[in-house]
């Protein structure tokens, strides 16, 4: 009941308030405002529906471990520049546990790793970006499970998408409005990183997808989940 009220409040008060503030007080820089507000409001329904559902504590702990692992990935690969397995971990989680787990692992990884790398207004945007990647991959999981090639393509594309989306943030954040030349210049400067990011996601998926699948199966057998 309580949570129903909160979700109604978001729809009937939160969204109009966002639009109103954007058009009156922050009108000069409304795109930045909308970007932050929309990314926050898009994570809230996922969290609410997750809180509502019944979950076994083992499931919660597994999500926690997968989140911590993708944060660890960001920490452990410091020695190897631009190799970051977060997207790969989110993709693998989404494929094995479904869209909800994919979204949660993505969003929580962004939030948690920023406790180590620095929080900021970009946290909400990162959470939405990684969360939605996990969600979309999770929706396609039956197709992706059948074909390893397709999974690798999806992983590489997710890596590129994440990079492109974060460039949108940088571009709009700088100008407070949409300036295509700025976005293109950011794309050009970040192109090498985008490529390495996509390739590294691909490499991680190739190297890790099978072992993780085996490990999950082993745990399922061992503990009878």
């Amino acid at each position: 009941m309580n949570k129903k009220i909160i979700s109604y409040l978001i729809v009937f008060l939160g969204i109009p308030a966002v639009v109103l503030l954007g058009n009156t007080v922050f009108s000069g820089v409304k795109y930045v405002w909308f970007m932050i507000a929309v990314s926050v409001l898009s994570t809230v329904p996922f969290v609410i529906s997750f809180e509502k559902k019944e979950h076994s504590v083992t499931y919660l702990l597994l999500i926690a471990a997968l989140t911590a692992l993708s944060v660890m990935g960001r920490l452990i690969f410091v020695a190897v520049p631009a190799f970051k397995p977060v997207t790969a971990m989110v993709v693998i989680t989404a494929v094995y546990f479904g869209p909800e787990a994919g979204f949660l692992t993505g969003a929580f990884s962004a939030l948690l790793s920023n406790f180590y790398f620095g929080q900021g207004p970009w946290t909400a945007f990162q959470m939405a970006a990684w969360g939605l990647i996990g969600f979309v991959i999770g929706l396609m999981r039956n197709r992706l499970k059948q074909s390893r090639a397709l999974l690798c393509v999806a992983g590489a594309v997710s890596g590129v998408v994440y990079s492109l989306v974060m460039d949108v943030w940088d571009a709009i954040f700088a100008d407070g409005t949409v300036l295509w030349s700025r976005y293109v210049s950011f794309l050009a400067t970040s192109a090498p990183f985008t490529v390495i990011y996509a390739v590294s996601t691909l490499v991680f998926l190739l190297l890790l997808e099978k072992p993780i699948g085996k490990k999950l199966q082993r745990i399922k057998d061992k503990y009878g989940i």
Partner: protein, 308 residues
């Protein structure tokens, strides 16, 4: 006992931050407001004030090396953005020269400097936020609304250092076996992936064990409680009231267009009527609140410190 409550000295400097002792609600409200205003008011005066306040406060949180690193990073960044901005936007009425038929304008350089200052101000405040609103405060704030999310986050926060220790053990074992010791890029990647893979197996098993354990101990039966030692003091009320008053003043002057400023086609005159000046003063006070609090504590600390 949380780390910031332990009083100890580091070369005679105060390690405990006075601002960190405020209630999480006060801290979160303060940082949210100052970050929103720094991002959304595109006025050179307020951005400079925010940058000064943020840098002053951040300098009380960082050591000498971090300060030097910041300066080394942000000054070239400002120059870079100032130079590259005219290449991206060709607005403005004072062309300095033409490049491939596109004007390289003075106003674009001004605007580039402005963007850089805004970005630095936001980063300074974000850095201070990360140091002050630590994960325990964040969980205290939002854990009540989303208990399952809070459980996942707090477990994951504990897992990270545990996994770090385990990763080191795995790595040491591999080194002792003489694996991947060449140190080339490919070697580095493969060995780290191997360590990571072993870590994944270990962590997942650990998580399932913990879950079974929690279930056996009756997790999910009855109401759960949580512990926290945050107190809402009179000082919190003062800061919150100041915050409300100053933000109301800022919002009203924003709404009436008193802080409007534009760089193109040429920089408009800075709004300087009494109402705008009042808004500037309000914003200056607002952005220096944390620095004032730290300075006051510093003075008190130095007066009371034994001079041996």
């Amino acid at each position: 006992m949380p780390k910031e409550k332990r009083f100890f000295r580091e070369g005679g400097r105060r390690v405990v931050k006075a601002f960190a002792k405020f209630h999480p609600v006060t801290l979160f409200a303060y940082f949210a407001v100052i970050l929103l205003f720094s991002m959304f008011i595109r006025n050179p005066v307020t951005v400079c004030l925010s940058l000064l306040g943020g840098a002053a406060f951040c300098s009380t949180l960082t050591n000498k090396r971090e300060k030097l690193d910041d300066i080394k990073f942000y000054i070239p960044l400002t120059v870079l953005i100032a130079i590259t901005n005219p290449l991206i936007s060709h607005n403005g009425k004072t062309p300095l020269f033409f490049l491939n038929g596109n004007a390289f304008t003075l106003e674009s350089i001004y605007y580039g400097v402005f963007i850089a200052l805004m970005i630095i101000a936001v980063r300074m405040w974000s850095k201070s936020y990360s140091r002050i609103v630590t994960s325990d405060k964040f969980l205290y704030l939002f854990g009540r609304f989303a208990p399952k999310t809070a459980l996942i986050l707090s477990v994951a926060l504990r897992y990270v250092p545990m996994m770090k220790a385990q990763a080191k053990k795995i790595k040491d074992a591999q080194k002792t076996l003489g694996l991947y010791s060449k140190g080339s890029y490919a070697d580095n990647v493969v060995s780290t992936v191997k360590v990571y893979s072993a870590l994944i197996g270990w962590s997942l098993e650990n998580a399932v064990e913990t879950g079974k354990n929690m279930k056996a101990r009756g997790w999910g039966h009855g109401k759960r409680t949580s512990f926290s030692s945050f107190r809402f003091r009179a000082a919190d009320a003062v800061v919150l009231v100041l915050l409300a008053v100053f933000s109301a003043a800022m919002l009203i002057s924003l709404r009436t267009g008193r802080l409007a400023f534009s760089f193109y086609p040429e920089p408009t005159a800075l709004p300087a009527d009494p109402v705008s000046v009042f808004a500037y003063v309000c914003f200056a006070l607002l952005s220096f609140i944390p620095f004032f609090i730290e300075s006051e504590e510093n003075i008190r600390w130095n007066c009371l410190r034994s001079k041996t």
